[in-house]
Amino acid sequence: MKVKRDQITGLVLVVLGIIFFVLISQFNKPLTAEYPGPKLMPGIAALGLVICGLGVFFNGCRQKEPDKAIMSKAGLLRMLVSFAALWLYILGLKYLGFLIVTPFLVYGLTTYFAVQSKAQTKLWVRIVFAIGVTLVIWFMYVQLFDMELPIGELFE
């Protein structure tokens, strides 16, 4: 028998609920009938997660038709690559700053998104777009609204 998506979701919710219960039990202030204190709200939510998790799990057990795929394996890989690129971008922001790293991210993502979508895009358009987006966002946040964007530890 193939495991259903709802069964996995349900189990994850139950485990999450139990983990939160353990964490809540470590709070100092006790929960009493006269004053529920800081334990009540997260306690209700953790209990809710366990109950809902069981509900979702049993719904999954009763489900007869197979799960529809949310995305293909190639799609999952695409998503993970983009996710990893964003983490690398944050790392780049830390050391090199917004103005240097952002054009590379925008160019990289635009190219990757376009190639994976089998779209024809011109190289110079992507380069101009990457630089343009970076400058517009920089101008908007830093010049127009007087905010700070990372300048990079190497340039501080």
Partner: protein
């Protein structure tokens, strides 16, 4: 209210405010029109830009984004048959068939006029009623407030068909995320793991942008971006609507307006539900229900008037009670709190000028939206043709920039990515995002009021013995169990027949 008019007028004619109103409206319409984006996302992404603004300027900019987004949602529904957001789902059913018949111009004109009618008049009614509701809310104690917050959270569950457990689970996750940091009143550190970045709680931008925006973009890419659609530009010249057309649908318009206003007023509900209810009422009340689904004008009027009338409706509990009508008003409450405007009955005493500025801004933006849409109608197809690969890469950078300016450190950018992962997992598990947003925004108020209630009278029975809170608690409990109760009643009715 009249005493605030000089202030409101002086704010609205300030060049910066005017400029931001126009820019916000244009950006909102674009976000509303493009399927996959929404006015809510626009408010979320641009909210950090308002941190350095005056409160009045921030209010004008955020409301322009919201109203533009709500009003622009019908464009995708009419021209593509794909709703720009959940509020325009029903508009597809007749808007797109009408466009396919070569009457795209008329369908868009109905959408524009209906959006204006719903937003403009609901804002006026909202402005008139809000202070009265606030006066009533003065009589509410912490118990009533707690019950009202619970009611708002549970009402979302009542409309989550077939996935009550998932809706409730999403609410629970929202509550847990909202409890990170020091607890109210007792100042007990919760889920902080001695990490100084967690002591102040998880920021709204970090959590909501991660779960709602970044994860959405990544999942959409994983599923595969669509090629820019081919949209016909035929029949887009001229306004395409006559007074006779409006007169023929007057009853439908008034009925849909009242439905939208009423549903918008209910805490936790919003335009997502109002457009469906109004469509079904219009179809049932029509002399020619068989025309619905094949390009009937009434099928566009009803959802568009209703989803925009929900704006004014949702603003009443937002301003008077501090309770959001939907996920966007939840965001706005959070944004206004950052500007020192705590929504609730006291806001009319402390910042009445800003509150009335909000209602007037909505009415003015409604007019601006109508003008902009009427002038730019022939360019709507180009908005829908923006390639996803350019749009989404730029939006991802804006998401991360928002997280940075919200907190001033890159740690929060990393946290946003963690919440993006949470959002991806929630999407894969089929958990809806809206209940999480509402729970995340409402929980701090709910918990604070509840603990205040217990400090005054240390007994649970207060919830049920006080008439107003008792009624609200009973409705809240019924809402939780309504997905189970409703089918049981239906079965019982069937077996009797």
């Amino acid at each position: 209210m009249l005493s605030y008019l000089p202030y409101i007028f002086s704010q609205l004619i300030q060049p910066l405010n005017l400029l931001l109103m126009v820019a916000g409206t244009a950006v909102g319409i674009i976000f509303g029109a493009i399927p996959g984006l929404s006015g809510t996302m626009a408010v979320m992404l641009f909210m950090p830009l308002t941190y350095t603004m005056e409160s009045s300027t921030a209010v004008i900019f955020l409301l322009a984004l919201w109203i533009g987004g709500c009003s622009g949602a019908f464009i995708g529904s009419v021209l593509l048959g794909i709703p720009g957001s959940a509020s325009a789902v029903a508009t597809c059913w007749d808007g797109h068939p009408m466009a396919k018949k070569g009457q795209a111009g008329k369908a868009l004109a109905i959408g524009m006029t209906a959006s204006f009618t719903g937003t403009f008049f609901s804002a006026i009614i909202g402005g008139v009623l809000a202070e009265t509701v606030a006066d009533f809310a003065f009589a509410m104690g912490p118990w009533e407030y707690t019950a009202l917050c619970l009611l708002a959270l549970t009402m979302v569950l009542a409309i989550s068909k077939g996935n009550m457990f998932k809706g409730l689970a999403s609410t629970c996750i929202g509550i847990l995320l909202a409890t990170v940091g020091f607890s109210p009143i007792d100042a007990e550190p919760r889920f902080t793991f001695n990490n100084m970045y967690l002591f102040g709680g998880l920021g709204m931008i970090v959590v909501l942008t991660g779960i709602f925006a970044v994860s959405h973009i990544l999942v959409t890419f994983g599923k595969g971006f669509d090629q820019p659609p081919e949209v016909s530009k035929a029949g887009l010249k001229g306004f395409g609507l006559t007074f006779k057309d409006i007169k023929e649908e007057l009853v439908n318009i008034i009925r849909s307006f009242l439905i939208g206003l009423g549903i918008g007023f209910l805490p936790g509900m919003g335009s997502g539900l109002s457009n469906l209810v109004a469509y079904s009422s219009a179809k049932n009340g029509s002399k020619h229900p068989e025309e619905y689904g094949h390009g009937a004008a009434g099928g566009i009027w009803a959802p568009e008037v209703a989803n925009n009338a929900a704006i004014g409706g949702a603003m009443i509990p937002m301003a008077a009670l501090g309770i959001p009508g939907d996920s966007t008003t939840a965001l706005l409450i959070g944004a206004l709190t950052i500007h020192g405007l705590e929504m609730g009955p006291m806001v009319f005493k402390n910042s009445g000028d800003i509150v009335y500025l909000m209602f007037v801004t909505v009415a003015v933006v409604a007019l601006l939206v109508l003008l902009m849409q009427a002038v730019c109608k022939r360019w709507f197809p180009y908005i829908l043709k923006v390639p996803s690969w350019y749009m989404y890469s730029a939006l991802l950078v804006i998401c991360l920039a928002s997280a940075y300016v919200d907190s001033g450190n890159l740690y929060k950018c990393g946290m946003m990515m963690v919440f993006a992962a949470v959002g991806i997992l929630m999407t894969m598990g089929g958990l809806p995002a809206s209940p999480l947003i509402l729970a995340f925004i409402l929980t701090p108020t709910l918990e604070k009021k509840m603990l205040q209630g217990f400090q005054s009278v240390p007994s649970w029975t207060e919830f049920f013995t006080r008439p107003v809170s008792g009624i609200m608690m009973v409705i809240a409990i019924l809402c939780i169990f309504s997905p189970i109760i409703k089918p049981l009643f239906a079965k019982l009715k069937k077996s009797k027949q």
